[in-house]
Symmetry: C2
Subunit: 390 residues, 2 copies
């Protein structure tokens, strides 16, 4: 049995953050009813398609039910209210103020169900001077402090890259899922009056929450953390090194014992014994020399061969895995991290396992179904669950 | 009242992932007892210090209690079991198998308290061929697929950078927090037998969970997603552009309406009217021309001035904020995202607001206290809560 079985969630979501929150809840067993406009969530148009159906959405909408409603029609509004009346929580990521304008604000919804938890995900939050700005993930990453850091110092020809995925949306969705369950636990605990909380989540705060000690450091000394490329300024040697086949090898060799093994593995035992390299603090002072020595060695081998040598020496390292590396890796296979699924719309596809494993449930059991077609559950939800003829 | 008030959590954590999970639970009101060795969690030695005390840890350990125990002593073991006997959940991030070896495995702990939820965070998970490898955040990022993507294509001189923070640890900690509360909600729901679940979380799966549609795309067509720098391959124009003062401006101009406003703002109205640029699909075919036009304009201005012009034209954009930008920004101020706190160890410091806001509680109210000194709560926890003379 999954931990959230019995939790009823309504999604008024689109694109990434809101639907990602509810997908995590659905993976853990919640009943999620995704409310879409008749033409579907626009995220269904993103990325590649197969058999005319979007590929990413197979995952993004899995374990959910899909119903279609026109939120601006009286019938659509009435059905949203009816869905919320029987639900534990609503997750929405419209622009702040939109639900209120169409008559579906928290006052209306909690009048129908005072126990309804409402999680509101937006770019900048429900108040403040930027609340009406359109939300874009890239802006959340830039304002939250992450894009400043994702860069190689002294490298002016290319821009600081994205980390490669819509990380600010993902983070806000994860915080929303966490906050929804927490609000439900608090509402349902013994002796509680049982009012549903309203939770405000935003992309900028979600990114800003990961800035480690940078804020108090700035406050105390005025020091502003600068990007450090693939290195960690306070640990040495740890970096990503070029290999002979044009690929890269990430190596974490900064503990004292591992450092000694690493230097011997690359044929530089004299550096392992060098008093200048005796501990992490002093190695940080000579990090350029150490990084050079390691790169001189990695350049003589392919990334796979260099990794094999270092692994035999018990030095933590990894090539930068792409999707083929993940699929072919024995650990991914043994852990059932890549799950073959039969998608009625796409045919056979691969799904990633949920990132949490609960005892007694295998990852394939958690992928109960792939994303439904637009409105696939109209009849079941409106007819059976709500009890009106759809 | 905070949502998790009344939830009792024991942390056998160190470094980042486990303690980050419990800090999120503590921010939401849970009672968190952090069990440290007598010399303290080694993360206390990371980063800068002030008055001899670690700065980052002021945040990382906030809202928690700290007790010290030697887990290998009979007394230490007995006290961990006693703490778990009264708790809802345990979060641990030792290497897989370690707790079992010292006699504190799940069988022992759940014999004392069958309702105890146990979240286990590790680099690779509790099983599989890599489970015994040491866990490093960088390796989790590399194996999970993120480091491959965080790069500028065609850029061989510098390595793909870190995204700037320990993102795999952060993600695993967030998933752990979410899973703990979900397991507690499931355990406490009406009619439930109330057994505590055991949850297995790992850095690699946490990163891999964010790979969007890349896995099914590879499975269906063999296509392997490649890094795209600061661009998004399926949207144009959206990128990060160089400004005249050496800073960068992130611009999201890929919706049709915004694209028109952007082209007029940079003095290129003919591109807004160009039939080759009529929609996103066709703009993606000419993205080099568009990125060039935008960069030609941003190079003539400082990042601040370019941002001001684009904002007046309602084009989503942002400089890449560093900590000073965050602290000085009116939105951060209005939203109380930067909270001045009196830390008994450090003096006055700045804390970031929690990323979730619950109605009726302000962000400053959620920062109830800063990180305690090592063992600061020994007397309270062992004397008062456990009721034995410490």
């Amino acid at each position: 049995m999954l931990p959230l079985e019995g939790l009823k969630v309504v999604e008024l979501g689109h694109y990434i953050a809101g639907p990602f929150a509810t997908r995590l809840l659905a993976d853990m067993g919640a009943e999620v009813i995704k409310v879409e406009p008749p033409e579907g969530d626009p995220i269904r148009g993103w990325g590649s398609t197969h058999n005319g159906h979007p590929v990413w959405f197979s995952i993004h909408g899995r374990n959910k039910m899909s119903v279609t409603l026109d939120l601006k029609s009286p019938e659509g509004r009435a059905r949203v209210i009816a869905l919320c009346a029987r639900a534990d929580a609503l997750v929405e990521n419209f622009r702040p103020g939109y639900l209120e304008r169409i008559g579906l604000g928290p006052l209306v919804l909690q009048a129908a169900n005072p126990r309804l938890v409402i999680a509101r995900v937006s770019g900048y939050g429900q108040d403040g001077p930027y609340r009406d700005k359109p939300a874009f993930g890239a802006i959340g990453e830039a304002m939250g402090g992450l894009r400043h850091l994702t860069a190689n110092p002294g490298q002016a020809e290319f821009p600081p890259p994205r980390c490669g995925v819509s990380i600010s949306d993902d983070l806000a969705g994860m915080y929303a899922a966490m906050a929804v369950v927490s609000a439900c636990w608090g509402r349902d605990r013994k002796g509680e009056a049982g009012r549903g909380r309203i939770v405000d989540l935003d992309l900028v705060s979600s990114v800003f929450s990961l800035m480690e000690g940078m804020l108090p450091e700035y406050g105390l000394t005025g020091a502003i953390r600068q990007p450090a490329g693939a290195a960690i300024p306070t640990a040495a040697p740890t970096n990503t090194y070029p290999c002979g086949d044009g690929k890269w090898l990430c190596v974490a060799g900064n503990s004292d014992l591992i450092f000694g093994r690493l230097m011997r593995a690359i044929g530089r035992p004299e550096l392992a014994a060098d008093p200048r390299m005796v501990n992490n603090t002093s190695r940080c002072l000579h990090v350029g020399e150490l990084d050079g020595a390691i790169a001189d060695w990695t350049r003589t081998l392919s990334a796979k061969d260099a990794q094999a040598v270092l692994e035999a020496a018990e030095v933590p390292c990894s090539r930068l895995f792409d999707m083929r590396d993940c699929v072919e890796d024995p650990h991914f296979q043994a852990r059932e991290m890549v799950i073959p699924v039969q998608d009625p719309l796409l045919g056979p596809v691969l799904h990633p396992a949920p990132p949490f494993r609960f005892d007694g449930v295998t990852p394939p059991e958690m992928v109960r179904w792939t994303a439904p077609a637009i409105g696939a559950h109209n009849e079941h939800v409106f007819g059976t669950l709500l009890g009106d003829a759809a």
